[in-house]
């Protein structure tokens, strides 16, 4: 089965390990992702805060490209929650509102494009994995079950809410990722924060608000003695992982919970090597947790940032 693939900006660099592990994890099932040609950023949650028509036109350009991609089969897969929400919501509003579609098409025409809404299925990567590939097929490929690994499935917001036509799980108590982790052999933690918010861009707007939301999530997972939090969104991964030390400093806590993508654990359970799943790029070292299931991750040579590629001031007494 072939799908149009919209990786989104994060998966090219910051969340490259998500892209790499997703490709490795779906390959054994004969699923093929055809990357949309010359796609653009979805605008995240920023463009809609500034300019309504431009934000819809920006997203519609990607939908128009997807519609033209024969191999996409009128389906577009996004691994990032914000990309998924933006594509799905735009498709919904364009379908419902002919006047909005008309205006968007006037804008698209300037670039020689047009879009007819109503036929595109926007899917999140997790939806494809659990519903199209399916738990049984995945179970049959598990060769190294994650036995004894305590995993907290973390859904975040934008794949479960609001209720869009593409919705595939419950907005309050989603279960698809829980079931997937059970199929992989993990001990799944049922903690109350699994569909709560990581704060998105709040670390930049109001540090106290942003860090507190991250703290609540980490605390809840820690209360249930989790070994690893598993996520399906680059923003969630970044907030929980890269800001974990800031949370510890700010609240004088001692969290040390690695944050992995669900595709990375899927790959490990299917016997794929850790290095082929981008493991090692996380800030909070996942090796002690993975050692529990007998996975050895080769130490990645720490690349010292060279002065030539570093256009930033450097403090002599840097902590």
């Amino acid at each position: 089965m072939k799908y149009g693939y919209y990786p989104g900006c994060s998966l090219e660099k910051n969340a490259a390990s998500y892209h790499v592990s997703a490709m490795a994890a779906i390959k054994p099932f004969g699923v093929e992702f055809v990357e949309l040609d010359d796609w653009n950023c979805c605008g995240a949650t920023e463009y809609i805060s500034l300019n309504l028509m431009a934000s819809y036109a920006l997203i519609a350009r990607n939908l128009a490209i997807a519609a033209k991609t024969a191999d996409a089969n009128q389906q577009i897969v996004a691994p990032c929650s914000a990309c998924y929400l933006n594509l799905s919501k735009t498709e919904k509003y364009l379908t419902e509102s002919p006047s909005l579609t008309e205006k968007v098409n006037i804008a698209l025409k300037e670039g020689g494009l047009s879009y007819k809404p109503g036929n595109m299925r926007v899917r999140h990567l997790l939806d494809i994995v659990v519903n199209d590939i399916g738990y049984d097929a995945i179970a049959s490929k598990v060769t190294k079950p994650l036995k004894g690994l305590r995993v907290a499935p973390y859904y975040g917001c934008m794949i479960v809410r609001p209720s869009l036509p593409s919705q595939f799980d419950d907005p309050e108590y989603p279960v698809t990722l829980d079931k997937l982790m059970q199929v992989l052999g993990a001990t799944v933690i049922d903690y109350p924060m699994k569909a709560h918010c990581c704060g998105g861009h709040m670390t930049q707007i109001s540090q106290a608000t942003g860090l507190e939301l991250i703290r609540q999530l980490l605390q809840s997972a820690a209360d249930y003695e989790t070994d690893v939090i598993v996520t399906l969104c680059p923003m969630c991964q970044l907030n929980l992982d890269a800001y974990q030390s800031d949370v510890n400093k700010y609240f004088k806590t001692k969290f040390n919970i690695p944050i992995l993508y669900f595709t990375q654990l899927m790959g490990l359970a299917m016997g794929i090597e850790a290095r082929d799943l981008g493991i090692g790029k996380e800030f909070i070292d996942a090796r002690p947790a993975l050692a529990k299931i007998g996975v050895e991750v080769p130490e990645t040579a720490k690349k010292k940032p060279s002065k030539e590629e570093l256009p930033m001031p450097k403090m002599p007494e840097e902590v």
Binding site: D38, Y47, S49, R61, L100, E110, L113, P171, M312
Partner: protein, 198 residues
């Protein structure tokens, strides 16, 4: 007509007109006028404690025509787009979408400068600068330009994070650019012209 023009035109009319203005500027059926003041939204909001007004209070203020107070409120800027309120609202009001509308209005009318989240539009604008000019977002540029403009003293505080991102090879030093930047620019230019006519 821009939102500002509409505001000038409606500022002397009846108190419900601000609500109509918000509804008109929100895509889809926002259902804002169906609010029953139950407070499910505020009770569901993860950043509610840091907001000047809960969404419920803000909607009462919109209904009362308190335009200036609403657009000076930090509430829309503290919305984290988690959609809990939207999902739980018994009246099915598109609360998150309305928060986006209020953000746009606060920028159009300059009131955001008086809120306690005065830097938030700067973050969005910096983010979008790269999207409009390269077709992709650019974290390095976003972090450095935004910090320099809005929190220059924090610049040094973010260096360890920046270096960490580079050490893990998780951040680009130069922005990626799509092939059809010119095409994208023409599309967005036209969309903005259409927005101005709304």
């Amino acid at each position: 007509m821009t939102t500002t023009d509409m505001a000038l035109k409606t500022s002397t009319t009846t108190k419900t007109s601000f609500m109509e203005e918000v509804i008109a500027a929100t895509p889809g059926e926002s259902r804002l006028n169906y609010c029953i003041q139950c407070g499910t939204c505020g009770g569901s909001c993860p950043s509610g404690p840091d907001m000047d007004h809960t969404p419920r209070a803000l909607f009462a203020m919109i209904r009362a025509g308190m335009k200036t107070e609403v657009l000076k409120s930090n509430t829309p800027w503290y919305c984290v787009s988690c959609y809990y309120c939207t999902s739980r609202c018994p009246q099915e009001i598109h609360i998150t979408d309305i928060m986006y509308t209020l953000k746009r209005m606060a920028i159009d009318e300059g009131y955001f400068r008086e809120s306690t989240a005065a830097d938030a539009p700067g973050f969005s604008q910096t983010f979008i600068f790269y999207v409009e000019n390269f077709g992709r977002s650019f974290e390095m540029g976003l972090a450095t330009a935004y910090k320099l403009m809005h929190h220059p003293l924090d610049m040094f505080a973010v260096i360890p994070m920046g270096l960490g991102m580079m050490a893990k090879n998780r951040i680009d030093i130069i922005p990626k650019r799509i092939k059809a930047v010119d095409q994208l620019k023409s599309i967005l230019k036209k969309a903005k012209e259409l927005e101005a006519q709304l």
